[in-house]
């Protein structure tokens, strides 16, 4: 198995590593960088739990190779909080609305919804449901997730 030197900026921090060609970006984040907030639900690109931002665009890190992210900027759920402690408005809204239960799909949901609100700060219900349609949650039935995104959009508007 060939190894490759890669340089990736993860959550604002420049990281250099040597990785096997077949290592997925998700495994790289979890196993090499110990950023276990990115979760693996299917490893075939359906469930959305492993969603991260690659150069600002949400991708499924289970079907991206780490070597494909060479030279890119990656943001994971650990990078949403400015200091690792303070909640972003979206994270705060998920807590406030209880837009989660077991928390396993939550990182992917947060990454997808963060991208949505960046593109569209005032989405309608239908737009929220459209944008999150690629992230499966088995706990909540989605209603409180949609409410969380609505709340974050409202709070964002107030600021």
């Amino acid at each position: 198995m060939s190894r490759h030197a890669i340089t990736i900026v993860v959550n604002g921090k420049r990281t250099e590593r040597s990785v096997p060609a077949r290592r997925s970006l998700a495994d790289f984040l979890r196993d090499d960088l110990h950023l276990t907030g990115t979760h693996l639900g299917c490893e075939h690109g359906i469930c959305g739990a492993c969603t991260v931002h690659l150069d600002g665009v949400p991708v499924r890190s289970c079907i991206v190779y780490a070597v494909q992210a060479d030279g890119a900027e990656v943001t994971t759920v650990e990078g949403l909080s400015p200091d690792g402690t303070t909640l972003s408005p979206l994270q705060d809204a998920f807590v406030s609305c209880h837009g989660l239960q077991c928390g396993f799909c939550t990182p992917g949901m947060l990454m997808a919804a963060t991208a949505l609100l960046r593109e569209n700060p005032h989405p309608t219900d239908a737009e929220i449901r459209d944008e999150l349609g690629g992230n499966i949650c088995r706990c909540t039935g989605y209603q409180q997730i949609v409410e969380s995104v609505q709340l974050a959009a409202r709070d964002g508007a107030a600021r």
Partner: protein, 799 residues
């Protein structure tokens, strides 16, 4: 000791119970700081890959592991023969001697995907590479796939050591069934099919085990939701139970019943002990779907109903055949739990119930949300719809005419279970109003007049909560288990902060929020400052895990019991220090003062310091410190079944009424929800957002079971829905917005009047949705009597 009646000193108006409170657990989850089983790392951790059977039924003639062993990084390989020589079989709950279940197949593989060989390597990828190098030779045998064909005495046997493929069969008769049928002017007979599906959590099963020879201790971290999990590991490995330590401070990424993983845990524990390294196994999705033994009930229902011209049902005969797959385990008991709500919400006087568990060459079944009652409620509710149609009344009216009346509680159903409390007509009326039922009927009729396909469905459901092991005894005479306990430990330290330990892992239910809210209520302190931790199985008290919608009831009341004991001790400490009798003192918030007297008092902090630091100020002989524990048996539990199989199943009975209006796309068969409204009664609500989420999540599972989700096997016994691209789970596009209203009928058996809430949504939704489809199909003269009713099925009915 009962905790049902609060001391007079507790405030009557709740300060925290029923109020909006941000769940404690959510913060770590949104920060990406949850700690799931796959996140556990240990020094020298090794990883497991599995070689599965390619055949549904085959004799294993040879296994060649030489190439796999030669791969650098591979530590070792274990076959079924090696494992079986050194472990005991996994537990069966039925009395079926000779049906042996081990983590790895022995001479015969009994379903496609059954584990045959386990490989341990330094990396998961290397273990998987090695799995590809193992050569297993098979001699295929005829596969048994149809549960009814499997019952034929001439069917090939799945387990030749057992006399037939029928693992359990019993007919219960409760009340004068024959007389009620003979006297009834109307009867109908129907068949329903509940196909195999499951709750399929997004996290697959993961387990890490570490055997320490220096202490003879096995440590296990697992994504687990299972009663008797440490016991079963210890049994299989021949370890004393105090040599197994299961760590419950692991966040579980969804379960809804299925995170049992006993064969996974026994295998990984064995491998750790065998090879002397810590070992981790994280299922990939294919392993989870095919060989994870997490499929749910797979049932055929034959139902007869006897009723009068008004649609009042007098008696029912229910026959259930359940396809358990290759190894029954605990799953047949899922036909036992519905005994405790076998008449639903209806005053049906007599019932005949036949339960048949059949083994086939499919993956094993396991507990799924509702423990078997979702399919049974689907069959009962669908039958009510047919009764309504036969006598010419609507689906709402037939339920109203059959409801147990509010003044009849406590109400004992024919199978022996007393329902604690409820007001079904009031809840149904709330659902009717919330949905604007009359308006929906006008909408439907107008849509039909335009040639559209529209329908309305109704379902109600009894949601038993509390948990109780009595179905073990009901389905196995040799099993006399009547205890199903839950415990809580509470401490207050010398600085006055409160902590509690619970002996379970949580899979999204919010137990830390539950316990801290109740402690805050009892102690009259802000719950956010209270710490709740998950003990391991040796440090914790007896627990049965968060099954059976039981934690608000039993963990809640163990917590309340412990808190009241501590509060009483604090009062006695203060009284002694104040020089008066305890009965002359009272709590005033967090301060104990002399009743009606001067300003003499002891504050919370003073009492804590006396308890921990000033022994000379304690009453002689009093134990220092502030710590206690409380273990509760399930209220109304502790009995065995009667000879005719009557049981007191669970203590508390929640209720919900669902109203669904939907439209069907004539071109694609796709269902579009026009309205989904429900009214829900789980007694006293402790955290409104958690309750709402539980109900809503159950509805989403119900929509999946009603319309999309099915494990499909081909004619050779291969599972063909192996990925999340084939096994269709509802997304934001398929789950509609739901309007919900609460009704509170407190339970007399719990401290705050709370009941269970985890399963009712899943029990009601399939019947409501399929009922609405059948209403929509009624102008076409067709109907669907199975779930899921897929778009293809619906299109066929529109032809």
């Amino acid at each position: 000791m009962s905790v049902a009646s609060p001391p007079a000193t507790e405030p009557h108006a709740h300060r925290f119970i029923g109020k909006k409170r941000r769940p404690v657990e959510d913060r770590r989850f949104v920060l990406g700081r949850g700690r799931y089983a796959a996140d556990i790392t240990l020094p020298h951790l090794h990883h497991v890959a599995i070689v599965p059977s390619q055949y549904a039924h085959a004799r294993i003639t040879a296994i060649d592991v030489s190439e796999a062993l030669a791969l650098p990084g591979v530590l070792g390989v274990v076959t079924g023969a090696e494992l079986r020589a050194q472990t005991k079989p996994l537990r069966q709950y039925l009395d079926i001697p000779g049906v042996e279940w081990f983590p790895l197949a022995g001479d015969v593989a009994r379903y496609a995907g059954e584990w045959v060989v386990a490989i341990v390597a330094t990396e998961r990828a290397i273990a998987e590479d090695a799995a590809d190098l193992v050569v297993v030779s098979y001699d295929p045998l005829p596969a048994v796939l149809d549960p009814e064909a499997a019952m034929d005495p001439n069917s090939p046997p799945v387990h030749p050591s057992h006399p037939s493929n029928i693992m359990y069969q019993r007919t219960f008769v409760w009340g004068p069934v024959d007389a009620d049928f003979a006297a009834a002017p109307r009867r109908l007979k129907t068949r329903y099919r509940w196909h195999r599906s499951a709750t399929v959590p997004i996290e697959t099963f993961a387990v890490t085990a570490s055997w320490e020879p220096g202490t003879s201790m096995l440590d296990v971290w697992a994504s687990i939701q299972m009663p008797q999990f440490p016991e079963q590991i210890a049994e299989a490995l021949g370890l004393p139970l105090n040599g197994v330590r299961v760590h419950f401070d692991v966040d579980v990424g969804g379960s809804y019943g299925v995170k049992r993983g006993i064969k996974h845990a026994v295998l990984v524990s064995f491998l750790s002990r065998h090879f002397g390294v810590p070992v981790s196994f994280v299922e990939d999705r294919l392993e989870n779907m095919r060989g994870g033994d997490m499929h749910g009930p797979d049932r055929i229902f034959d139902i007869e109903a006897a009723y009068d011209d008004r649609g009042v049902v007098k008696s029912m005969k229910i026959r259930t055949i359940d396809d358990e797959g290759a190894y029954p385990g605990r799953s047949p008991l899922q036909m036992g739990k519905p005994v405790g709500a076998i008449v639903g919400a209806y005053a049906i006087a007599s019932v005949q119930y036949e339960a048949i568990a059949v083994t086939t060459n499919k993956t094993g079944q396991v507990a799924v949300r509702g423990f078997g009652q979702a399919p049974t409620n689907f069959a009962i509710e669908s039958t009510m719809d047919r009764v309504a149609r036969d006598v010419g009344i609507d689906a709402l009216e037939v339920r109203r005419r059959n409801f147990i009346a509010p003044e009849q509680f406590p109400y004992t159903i024919p199978s022996g279970t007393a329902y604690d409390s409820g007001d079904y007509p009031a809840v149904m009326a709330k659902a009717e109003a919330l949905a604007d039922f009359a308006g929906l009927q006008r909408w439907r009729d107008a849509a039909r007049a335009e040639g559209r396909v529209a329908g309305i469905g109704i379902a109600s459901c009894i949601e038993p909560g509390g948990g109780n092991a009595i179905f073990q005894a009901l389905f196995n005479d040799k099993d006399k288990t009547t205890t199903f306990p839950e415990g809580a430990q509470v401490k207050i330290d010398r600085t006055g902060t409160i902590s509690a330990q619970i002996g379970v892992a949580s899979s999204g239910q919010g137990h830390e929020t539950l316990v801290s809210t109740l402690l805050g209520e009892i102690f009259e302190v802000e719950p956010d400052g209270i710490r709740v931790i998950h003990a391991d199985s040796l440090a914790g008290l007896p627990s049965q895990s968060p099954v059976a919608s039981r934690m608000a009831i039993v963990l809640g009341d163990a917590t309340v019991g412990a808190a009241r004991r501590l509060k009483d001790k604090m009062l006695r400490i203060a009284a002694h220090d104040l020089g008066c009798a305890p009965e002359d003192c009272e709590w005033n918030g967090t301060t104990v003062r002399v009743r009606g007297g001067d300003a003499a008092e002891r504050t919370w902090l003073e009492i804590c310091r006396i308890a921990h630091l000033f022994y000379h100020r304690l009453a002689p002989g009093m134990e220092p410190g502030l710590q206690t524990q409380f273990v509760i048996e399930v209220p109304t539990g502790g009995t065995l079944p009667t000879a005719d199989g009557r049981v007191q199943m669970y203590p508390c009975h929640s209720f919900s009424a669902h109203v669904v209006a939907l439209e069907i796309d004539r071109g694609t068969g796709r269902v579009h929800f026009h309205k989904y409204a429900l009214a829900h009664d789980c007694g006293t609500v402790i955290n409104p957002d958690i309750v709402r989420g539980m109900v809503m999540g159950g509805i989403a599972h119900g929509i999946g079971a009603a319309l999309y989700e099915r494990f499909v096997y081909d004619d050779s016994g291969q599972l063909i829905t192996q990925t999340l691209a084939d096994y269709m789970m509802p997304t934001t596009h398929e789950v509609p917005h739901v309007d919900m209203v609460e009704h509170e009928t407190p339970s007399p058996f719990t401290s705050m009047g709370q009941k269970g809430v985890g399963e009712g949504g899943y029990m009601s939704t399939p019947a409501a949705v399929v009922g609405a489809i059948n209403d929509a199909l009624s102008p076409f003269g067709t109907r669907i009597d199975h779930a899921p009713a897929t778009p293809v099925d619906i299109l066929e009915c529109l032809q």
